[in-house]
Amino acid sequence: MICRKFSKSLAAIILVFAWTQMAGFLRAEEMLPRFSVSLSAGCFFPQQKSFRQLYGSVQFPLNLEVNYVLSPQMDLFAGLRCLTSKGETEIVGAEFVPESHPIDFSLYSGRLGIAYYFLRTRLSLFMGAGLSYNFYKEKWEDTEISAKDKKFGFFAQGGTEYSLGKRYSFVGRIEYSSIPTKESSKLQKKINLGGLELSLGFCCRL
C-alpha cells in the first residue's frame, strides 16, 4: 500500500516537472529531434542472494526504450525490459540425497520514467527515475509447479550518452531497480526481483 502511494506521488511529481520543462522547451531557439529509440543489453546483478543461488549471480536483460525530448535538459522515456533465465532448485535445510529440479524464470517490465541531462554535448550525462509494471513467472520444468504475478516497481538510473553524429549515439547506463513482491518460499521471505544493472546500448534519434 505504501509502495503504491509512493509510486503515485512520484508519478505526479514527474508529470508536473515535465510540463514545466515542456513550456521552457517550446521557447528554446535550437530545436532537437524529439524522439529517439535505444536498444541496450546489460548485466543484471540481483540484489537477493536466493535469486543469485538459483539463477546465477549475473543475468542479461534486454531493454528497448523510446525517449521523448521534453526540454534541452529533460527526456521522458518509456520502455520494455525483458529478462529470462534458467536455473535449478536448491535444498533448504538438511540435504540427504542430491536433488534438483530445472526451473525457468522470466520477467517482463513496462517502464515509464524521466531523465535529466546535465549537459547535452557530444558526451552527455544524465540521471533519471521511473516506475515499472512487471510480469513475472517461475516454472518448474519437470512438474506443473509454477508461480506468476504482476507487480509495480521503481528504478533509478544514471548514465552517459556519446554522440556519433546528429542521429546516432552510444548509451551507457547504471541502474538500481526494486520490484518488491509479497511472495515468499522456504528459500526466501519477501522476494524482491530488483538489483543493480549495467547496460550498454545504441541510440537512434528520429
Partner: protein
Amino acid sequence: MLILNFEPSAGERMRLKRTRFLKIFPLVIFLIFIFYLTPHPSSSVLVKIQKNQNLSVLPFSASDIKVIQELKTVWIAEIKTELLSKFLRARIQGEVLDSEPEGKPYYLVNITHEEQINKLRKLGNVRKIENHTCLFWCARENVREILPPEVQIKRLPSRTSLTLRSESFPSAEENKFRNFRQSDPVILQMVNQVSKANLSSYILSLQDFKTRYASTLNCEASGTFLYNFFNQVGVQSEYDPFSFRSDYSSRNVVATIPGKVAPNYAVVVGAHYDSYSQQPFTLAPGADDNGSGTAAVMEIGRILSRYPFNFTVKLICFSAEEWGLYGSQHYAFHARQSGEKIIAVINLDMVAYTDRVPEDLDIIVNSNSEWLADKYISSTQTYAPMDLLKIINPSFVYSDHSSFWDEKYSALCGIEDENPSNPNYHKITDTLDTLNMDFATSVTKASLAVAADLAEPVSTPRPPTGLTSRSQVSSSLFSSIKTTYLSWHPSQDEVQGYNIYRTAISHASYQKLNSALLDRTSYVDSFLNPDTVYYYVVTSVDGQGRESNNSEEVRDNENNK
C-alpha cells in the same frame, strides 16, 4: 261420523322421545357391564408339544405356531385359540400350559428336586415341563428376587426364530467355516500369552464393584470399566443398551476385532458380567459367577487384539443374565433381525471353581451346535489340552448361549463341572479366594484357541521392519516442495513385493502410493507440501496376494537427525 285426528304437538313428541331413551339407557348400560364381566377367550394359548412324534403333517400351517423355546423333549409354543381344537383332534401329544398368555412374562426354572416345585407354587403359577424344568409365572415383576437364589432361571423370549421343523443350523452358507484346520503356530503363540495373574486381577477388579446386580449403579460402573478396558487394549468397543422389566435399563459391552478377509462373519466370545446373591443390591461379588467368564473374555480380547483374523471376533459382556438372559436375548434377537452372520458363540459362565483336580469343563450344546463342541474339543487338544465333557442338552437354557440357540445360531456354554456345584453360587461368599485360577487359566487358553481357530488367523507374510524416513525440502524462488526418502529391510518371508501407504493423520486414513507392487526396498515420495507432516507405513505382499499388517509408522523426517 266423528273422526278424531290425534296429532301430538312438537313438545309432546320430544317428551315421548326422552321417555323412550330413559327406558333404553339402563338396559344398554347393563349389557355393557355384562359384556365386560364375561371372560373373553384369548386369541392364543401357550402349549408344550412333545418332540418325539411325527409332526411332518400338521393340521394347520406351521407359521400359525410361534415356537418360543426348544428343550430336550418338548417345544413351548403359542398357538391361535381357534386352532386348539384342530390341535387336539390331530392327537398331537402336548398340553395347554396357559390359556391366557398375552403379555405375561414366563420363566423357565431349573429344579433339582420335587420339593422346589411346591415352594414355587407358593410364589406363583408352575407347570412342569420336563424332568428338571418348570415353567413359572406370577403377577410380580421382580421374579429374580422372589425366587430362591439357588435356582437358575431363563425368561422365555416373546419371539424367536425357531420353528417346529427339525432344521440343522448354521445354514449351508455358514457350514463352510466348519473346516478343521491343521495346527497353527500363531495360535499356540497366542495361547502362551494367557496370564493367570491378569485373570486374577480382572476378577478382583470386578469383585471390587461390591455388586454387579443389573439395575444397580455399580453394575453400570462395571460395564463402563469393561468398555474402557477393551478400548485400552486396542479393541473398539461400544455399548448395546437395552431395557428390561418395565423400568430398568442396562448395557451389553460389545468389543469388535474386525476381520481382514470376511469381516461380515463373526465369532462371538461372550460372558455375562452382572452378578447376584442373597443381598443383590449391596453385595454380590460374583467372582465365579461370572467374574471368571468375564475375565476370560477380557484376557482373550487383550491377546486377540494383536493379531489379524480372516473373520471378525466379537467379545461381548452381557448384562442382566441373572434376571433371565435379558442382555443376550436383546443382542441375539437384533443380530438375527439385522442379518448378522455369527459363525459360533462361545459363552463362558462360571469357569474357575473346582471341587477336584484335575477338573473338567462341561461343553454344553444343543444338537445343532454339536459341531461346535467337537471343534472346541479338537482345538483344545491341539493347543491347550484339558479335560472336557461334551453334553448335548437343549434343556440347559440358563445362560446366554441359549439366547443364540433361540435365534438359530450355533452356540456352546463352557461351564465348570456341576456335580457338586460351587457352594458359593449366588452367595456373598463367591469371591476370588475360593477359585482355582489354574483351572480358569486352562479354560481361558482353551477358549482362546477355539475362538482363534474359528476366526482363522490371517496367514500373511510378516510386515517389513526397519522402515526409515528422511525428508528434504527443495525450493525455487516462489515455490517449495518436500521429498521423502523411505527405505526398509527386505522381508524375511518370501514376498512378491511391497506397498507403501501415506497419511497426514497419524495412524489413520492411509492411502496407498504405489499402483504396482514395489520390488525394491526403497521409495521416494516427491512433490509434497512442505508445511504438512506425513506419516508412512509399508506392508509386504506374498505370492498369493496376501498383505501383511502395517509396519511401524514413521514420520517423514523421523530419521533426519
